[in-house]
């Protein structure tokens, strides 16, 4: 399968450690890719580089084989873009904004506009300044989806939407994928993307620290273990064991996190009088958060 989005050593160095550094990423055609990271990690910088808004310090990005910077106009014919925040359109009405951006793309598919506005319950008769935050996001969704683009680049699309409209957005994404479109979706909340994405990339401090399928992330289990002894707690049993972290003890109870295989823990407990043993399965969010926390940058990709 060919790459719909490809970056090679893509770098935007703002100085002082800020920016995006040596991003190598491929998103296949027809894939829904989630791009995750905390605020200020470099998500919007990546998107602006893909959109040709800012010049890379090094490296290159391409969309469907077209260089994002040099063939910017051709690239944007293929793209539907939703920025993190819509600009101020002041006194223009929603219908004017949709008409303007539709015209810039060669014409408006009124049936498609009607379909999306009905699904999102968006009134295009209001002036932009009269729109609530949620309605502005809906207008952004309309502008991104109304021309049935081959590639959708959505910057935190579900923020500001109520749960019903979030579900409608995810439906639109799934439909776009079913129609063969590629979707690049940024977010800082994993739960937003786990409904629709097949793979996610996690970015932290301008560097891509992990690209994985969602099920692979699930497999990276970090269990929270609680052991209750009949007598005094014996934390020394677990000290130095591989994958054991955050060891704490309190009278009869020892708690720790266990990464990877559980076998060393089972071996350590053999012959001891344990009255209770609990192992908590991590949520996907917990897995995701481990990448947000301070870690060395050399996490295996």
């Amino acid at each position: 399968m060919t790459a719909a989005i490809k970056t090679q050593s893509l770098t935007k160095d703002y100085g002082g450690g800020r920016g995006l550094f040596a991003l190598d990423l491929e998103v296949s055609e027809g894939e829904v890719f989630g791009y995750l990271g905390p605020n200020g990690a470099g998500k919007s910088t990546t998107i602006r580089l893909l959109m040709g808004m800012i010049h890379p310090s090094r490296g290159a990005a391409s969309i469907l084989g077209l260089d994002s910077m040099r063939r910017s106009v051709e690239v944007k014919r293929l793209i539907g873009y939703m920025p993190g925040e819509l600009p101020q359109f002041g006194g223009l009405r929603g219908r004017d904004i949709a008409g303007h951006f539709g015209a810039l793309r060669g014409g408006v598919d009124q049936a498609r506009v009607k379909e999306i506005t009905e699904r999102l319950d968006l009134d295009l008769g209001l002036k932009f300044r009269q729109y609530s935050t949620g309605n502005k996001r809906k207008l952004g969704i309309l502008l991104a989806f109304m021309h049935r683009p081959k590639v959708l680049i959505l910057d935190e699309p579900s923020s500001g939407l109520d749960p019903l409209n979030q579900q409608e957005l995810f439906k639109l994404v799934r439909e776009a994928k079913a129609a063969g479109a590629t979707v690049f979706l940024s977010s800082h909340v994993l739960s937003e993307v786990e409904h629709v994405c097949e793979r996610v990339g996690i970015i932290r401090r301008g560097r891509l620290v992990r690209v994985a399928r969602l099920d692979e992330l699930h497999e990276m289990r970090v269990r929270r273990v609680e052991v209750e002894f009949a007598g005094d707690a014996q934390p020394q049993l677990f000290e130095g064991l591989p994958g054991i972290e955050n060891l704490e003890s309190n009278r009869h109870r020892v708690t720790f996190t266990a990464r990877g295989s559980f076998e060393p823990v089972a071996d350590a407990l053999a012959g001891n009088h344990v009255v209770n043993l609990a192992s908590h399965e991590p949520t996907l969010e917990d897995v995701f958060l481990t990448y947000y926390e301070d870690q060395p940058d050399e996490v295996p990709a």
Partner: protein
Amino acid sequence: MIGWSAWRLHRRGLIGFSVGGFLISFFYGAAFQQAAGTSASSQAAFGRSISLVAKQFAFLIPLPVHPETLGGYEQYKWLSGAIVVMMLWAGLAGVGIGRGDEDRGLTAEWIASGVSRTRLVLARSAAFGLVLLIACIASVLGIVAIAPAVHQDPNVAGEILKALSMAAGLFAGYAIALLISQVPAERQTATALGVGALVLLLMVNGIADTIDSASWIGVVSPFHWMERTSSAAPGGTFDLGATVGLAVAAAALIGAAIPAFRLRDLGSGLFTWGRRTRASVRVASRNLMLHLPSTEGLWEQRVGLAVWVFATLLLGALMVSVTKSVADALFTDPALAAVFQNAKPGPVYASLLGFIWFGIALLLLAGYAVVQVSRWSAQDQDGRVEMLLSAPVSRTRVVIERALEFAVASLLIVLGGYIGVAAKLPTAGLNLDAGHVFTASALLWPFALAFGGLGVAVASRWPRIAVPLLAAFAVVEYFLGDLAPLFRLPDWVANLSVFHLYGTPVTGSISWTPALSMTLVFLVGFGAALVLVRRRDVSSA
């Protein structure tokens, strides 16, 4: 917190007007001896000639007081013009605080953070008032600084009192624009009405100053009350009552703006007419004006542009209709009549029309260019350009569309002015050559294009500082034409001023060289914009 934010938002204007004001007053002072000579007799003769000639310009600039002194000369030559320019700044600030902050989302942020509307208006107004005061003082300090070097009295107290009077009058102008900006729903309309009201008050003062029977209408204009203080000239007067009155009027107008602001919804005008229930709209507009960025821009600012066009039309007609009265009033002075004893009535009227209409039209068009650049700059900063570029639109096209939009809008304004002048000319009794009037009007367009070209260039590369940059350029250009002869600088230096390039086509021989030169400036600015816009990052962040 709000006070600090309010102060920070004016820092560019503060620096620009303070530094610019100081330098211009300093350089005018440095040129004083070149213009007036070094002996008491030559300076007295110089003062007499200035007083005589100044009467024909009394429509816009108050008559000089002791122009044979440095302070009197600067008061006439620099401070009178500075007041007009700074009043435009004050008007734009009033509208910006009244409506611009709202469009940028700042007002909502402040209110959401617990700042009351009253406190918001008071803090923003206090910050701007302080900025105005500093800028006014800086504008007279150049005179104080240069005075010893040209063997003149620094007149420190008089200069500071003049600055106080200016600051009070300008603050009243700011408050007028702030109050007016509460009424309409659109920022563009508020800008046109707020700034338009100040231009109208300038005209009202001009009429009151030159036509005795109409002198009573001057009381409504802050320009009238500022003129009552002439203390920048040694022996001039400081009208304490007028200055305090202006400050009190400013406070009252701000006080009226606060309940108006509290009564209306954010994003709406003060008055809302019955909202009708209607079905939701589910289709995109088919308006053909929305098909191109340039026509979309014209559509979006249609109300503001219509105000500019009709205001120019009315102003042109008004200026033509008062020219004869003003000229005839001036010629009742035998001394002034002697100056023009060899001149025929036609050229005298043409000369006066050239000053009171075409001079104003140049400033209006330069002001329009600054307003447009301000709009482009805001579009860049709030992500509008980023959104436009997310469609299949090249950066080159953005520049071309901006240039086209500006060209069409400025042409409409020029046409409006010409229609107003041409409609009134046959009945005005001025006996002017229609061809000259048409040429002078037509040349306003390349003048506007020259400013627009430079505006497109700076907005394409440095959108965040484009407005102060172009405004500073306009001020330097305006005074360059004035200062170059005083410093006996070569012609090519004076020709760097677009105002100088425009010249006086309504009285002089018709030449298309200035038009070509100004068109060249437009093309250079436009070409630079095409190069510069490709190199920069576009980002609202």
